[in-house]
Every structure is written in C-alpha cells, then in structure tokens.
C-alpha cells in the first residue's frame, strides 16, 4: 500500500469544513470545475503513480460499490 488511508489530518473536522467553505458561493457547474482543478493539483502533489492508482481504485469502490 502506497496510499495513506489512515487519518492524516491534524484536525479532520476543520479540514472538512474548509472544503465545504471553499465551495460556498459556487454554482453547481463551478463546483465541478473547482473539484476538477483540486483533483489535478492534489494528484500532482502526490505524484507517485502507485499511490494515485490506489486512490483511483478506492474512489471507484466508494462510487460504484
């Protein structure tokens, strides 16, 4: 496993609230665009192909169990 799935946030509730706040005032289309940009930014930050592949698989399982 390359992907960190154990809690890795200092303050999970705060981080989650920040994510929601970042979307406030955006239309649904803008929210989608925002999410796409965020995914690209974070994927680049991670960089590691194996970790990204595991993240994609996990997201897939969460979406289409």
């Amino acid at each position: 496993m390359k992907l960190v799935t154990e809690p890795n946030f200092a303050d999970p509730d705060e981080t989650y609230a920040r994510l929601l706040a970042a979307h406030s005032g955006l239309s649904e289309a803008e929210s989608h665009a925002f999410n796409a940009a965020l995914v690209l930014i974070l994927m680049n930050h991670i960089g590691d192909d194996a970790a990204i592949a595991e993240a994609l698989a996990l997201a897939h399982r969460a979406t289409k169990p």
Binding site: H32, A33, A36, A37, V39, L40, I41, N44
Partner: protein
C-alpha cells in the same frame, strides 16, 4: 510561389509484351514510404520494382514536419541534406490559451548532433528529392502509372493496370506501401481496427510574407477562432500551414469554399494579403493492422497504421518502418538471415505504431474533449496552466515524433547510460572530422570505446577517439564499452566487456539464426 508538378517518366512495362521473371521485391506505392523503401533496399544491394498509380509527387502538402530521426534516415538515403537545406529548421513551440501564452517548449535538447530536432518541408519536396534519387538508382525499376488492381496474396501475384493495358507480376515479397486507403489491405480483407474522431479540421497552406518567427504556434480557444484550436507553422517559400478545428458538425464541402476559408484565415493572420495554396478538410483516425506481415505480403507506412497528424507521427513513423524492414529483408533475400527477421520487424513496428497511436490519440482527445468530465478536466488543466507549471505538462497540443525504444531482450550493462540502451537509436555524436551517425550502417558495427574489439566476420569495428559527447552518451562513468549497432543504427546489445563468442551470439540472433 506555387509548386510546379512535373510528370514522372512513364515507360511501357516489359510485362505487357512478355511474362516477366519473378521479382525479389515489388513495392506498391511511391509515397514517401515506398520511395524510401526502394532506396533503403538498394543501399543494402537489393533491387526492387516500384509501382505507383500516379505520375506526380504528392498533390498538396500533407506532411510538413520531419523529425531528427527521419532526417538521419533520409541522409542515409542521400537526400537528408537537401531536406535540411531547403526546410525551415525550428525547435521552439509555443502554446496559447485564449489570449495568453501558457508555455513554450524547446526541442533542441543538447548540442553534438548533426541533424536538428525538426525541419518543416512540404511533402512534395521530400517526395521530389526521393524520386530523383530513385530514378538515378540502377537497382530500382520505377514504374509510374502502374496501378495494382488486384492481388493473389498466397503466390503472391499482382494484376497491374497501365495506360497501355494490364499485365501480371510475380514477386517473392510484396511490400504494400499504398497508403491509408491501401487497396491491398482492402482486397485481403484485413481488419483495420481503431478509433475515428468525428471532429473536422480545416488544413490550409497559404502563401504570405510574414515575419512571424519559425516556431510552432498552437492556440486553444483563441480570440480569432473562439472555442476551437488553431495551429500555425512556417514552411519554405513563404508558405504557412494553418490548421483550424471546425467542430464535428462542420460541412466539409462548404468549409472548403474560399469564401468560407479566407475570412477565417484573415481573422487569424490579421489581413487578407495572402494566397490560398492548398485547402482541405479532414477528420482523423488512429488505426492499425493487427499484424504487418502477412506471409509474403508486408505492410509498411500508412497502409499498416494511421494517426492524427498533431504529433507528426504518420510519415515519420512510416520512415521508421522502412528503417526496421530494409536491412532485414535484404539479408533474408541474400540468404544471410532466416525468416524470423520478419517477425522481428512485425514485433518492433507494431510496438512503434502503438506508441504513435497512443500519443496521437491522447492529443486528439485533449484537443477535442467529449462533453462532460473530459471537457471538465481539459478546461481545468488549461485554466491552471497559466499559474501552475505542472498543468503545462498536461496541456497536450501534440507530442512530437521521437523514435521509440524497442523492448529488446539483449545483453545490457546497468553501468552504461540510459540514452544508448539496447533498442534505442544510437545517439549521434561528433567524431574527428564528421559524425558518428554517418559511420553507422549499412553493415552491423561494433562500436568500441576504451576497449579492444574482438574481430568477427561481417561486423565492422569502429573505434573512435573518445570525447565528452561519446563519454556522456555511451559510457557514463564506465571506463569502456562495446556497443553492437544494427544496420538500422539501433543499439542491438552492449557490454562493458565482451568476448567474440558473446558478440557473435548476438549477431546470430540479429539475423534470426539463434
């Protein structure tokens, strides 16, 4: 100035008067690939008959970007320097989004190579130079206005039509170089699987005086052509290539009309002071044959694979097919190699075609994203590119042709640098009074650097004085190396030390005898 097409010399084929003896090789199609194929075989001492249904070189320009590898191959065929001299050498590409430049790339990687990264030169010029070399070569029997109408692949036997009637030709090998709409492929009912992109593109060559720099300029959603993409590229003789994306629902007939084309181009270049040289509307495909070798019928170039043009991988990829086939087929016909060399051609070039198709498909996707999530990520990438360098790496306006590294199962030494690993084209380097690339081929070469080379029949030893370029590209930190370089200038195997038996074994494998 407009290109003047000359008629190629037509002569009555001997087969019209009496049956011809079975030929070693008949090449069908004298596009860049068929012409280069005939010359490459001749370089290895192998004659051929070259048929074409036409008696003129390519009408309209089509290919304009010729890669460093193609120029090296063309140099071996005797026309590389003419191409460089006449062509526009460029190495900078700029990509714009809306009204701002998002990034630039420089393809000129390092010095110490004879050939530039790319030249732009109209396909008809390249074909003209190749045709002249073909006509001057006594080993090539070039027959313009000889159209192949049918083939019996098992023999193989060709039915050829000329202005004066039809005749039959037999050959040990037929090389189908008859282009994207290959009649031979159709007659043999071979599946040409892949993807068709519905998007239409206007491709135009215009003549104008302009002092834009010799750079590749590509726009996503420019103000002069909203919502679509555009490309501008310089060619010799004040000719400029323009590609404009039109959408999937454009009407190709209507879009070709000058009254539609001229205003579009005017918006792009800012004036009307230009002449239309050639206009066409295309949609693109990425497809290939499952296998390129079908018994004695071998597919080479566009007949075997087609790609969208944004990475310039069509003609350049086709010349690499020629490179991989010529030395092998010549050796097979001369009795030096076994039929296994044809499987090696098939394996290497289907691998190369896959790489070209993968690159071209990804570019086309990025340029023409499907509605929904594809478009979402595409637009997001472009929006990020202005600020975040990583997104510039994702913005895909074309990944320009580079030769692939074949996945060879061959001796290697991890101490030696990756650029010259087996399967790669041997990197060029300056030598005293010349260039390394010029010294490689048509025979196998054992490049001996800081090592004594064992003597082996049929292998030429090249032991140049070391310099920094050679060290960097072939030695790294190792004190010495032996590199076996195939006739197609691809590194076949390498060692930090090897004895005659080890090298001989690799030579035998190269000829399919071990």
């Amino acid at each position: 100035m407009a290109y003047e097409h000359r008629r190629l010399p037509y002569r009555r084929a001997p087969g019209l008067d009496a049956p011809e003896p079975c030929h070693d090789v008949v090449i069908v199609g004298a596009g860049p690939v068929g012409l280069a194929m005939a010359l490459d075989l001749a370089n290895h001492g192998q004659g051929s008959v070259l048929l074409d249904d036409n008696d003129r070189v390519s009408i309209g320009s089509r290919a304009i970007c010729w890669s460093k590898r193609s120029l090296e191959i063309l140099a071996r065929l005797g026309v590389g320097h003419r191409c460089v001299e006449k062509g526009v050498t460029w190495h900078v590409g700029r990509t714009f989004h809306r009204d701002r430049e998002i990034f630039a790339f420089d393809l000129l990687p390092e010095d110490g190579h004879e050939m530039p990264a790319f030249v732009n030169l109209q396909q008809y010029h390249v074909e003209e130079y190749l045709t002249e070399a073909v006509l001057a070569n006594p080993l090539i029997d070039f027959r313009p206005l000889n159209r192949v109408a049918a083939i019996r692949p098992a023999l193989p036997e060709l039915y050829v039509q000329t202005p004066e009637g039809s005749y039959t030709l037999q050959a040990r090998y037929v090389l189908a170089c008859d282009g994207a709409r290959s009649a031979i492929r159709t007659i043999m009912r071979l599946e040409f699987a892949g993807e068709l992109f519905e998007e239409r593109f206007l491709i135009a060559d215009i003549e104008m005086k302009a002092d834009f720099p010799p750079e590749r300029r590509f726009w996503f959603e420019p103000p002069f052509h909203p919502g679509q993409s555009a490309l501008l590229h310089k060619q010799p003789d004040n000719i400029w290539r323009i590609d404009l994306q039109l959408g999937w629902d454009a009407d190709p007939e209507a879009e070709r009309a000058p009254e539609r084309v001229i205003p579009r181009i005017e918006r792009m270049v800012g004036h009307r002071d230009f002449r239309l040289d050639w206009v066409s509307v295309y949609s693109f495909q990425c497809r290939r044959l499952d296998r390129f070798v079908h018994g004695p019928v071998i597919f080479v170039g566009d007949s075997a694979h087609v790609v969208s043009p944004f990475g310039a991988r069509g003609g350049n990829g086709g010349l690499q097919d020629v490179d991989a086939l010529g030395w092998r087929l010549a050796a097979l016909l001369a009795g030096r190699a076994s039929e296994r060399v044809l499987s090696a051609y098939d394996a290497e070039r289907t691998f190369g075609a896959d790489e070209n198709i993968r690159n071209s498909t990804r570019t086309t996707r990025f340029m023409t994203p499907a509605d929904g999530v594809e478009r979402l990520y595409r637009d997001s990438t472009l929006a990020l590119a202005a600020e975040a360098p990583f997104a510039r790496a994702l913005a895909n306006s074309g990944r320009l042709s580079r030769p692939c590294t074949y996945p060879l199962d061959a001796p290697d030494d991890p101490a030696l640098p990756a650029t010259s690993r087996p399967g790669s084209v041997a990197p060029d380097a300056p030598l005293e009074g010349g260039w390394l690339m010029r010294q490689l081929g048509p025979d196998p070469v054992l490049l001996a650097l800081g090592r004594e080379a064992p003597r082996i029949d049929g292998v030429r030893i090249l032991a140049p004085a070391l310099n920094d370029h050679l060290r960097q590209r072939y030695l790294g930190n190792a004190p010495g190396a032996l590199c076996l370089i195939r006739p197609d200038q691809v590194v076949g195997a390498r060692w930090t030390t090897a004895d005659a038996a080890a090298v001989s074994h690799e030579i035998d494998r190269m000829w399919g005898r071990a």
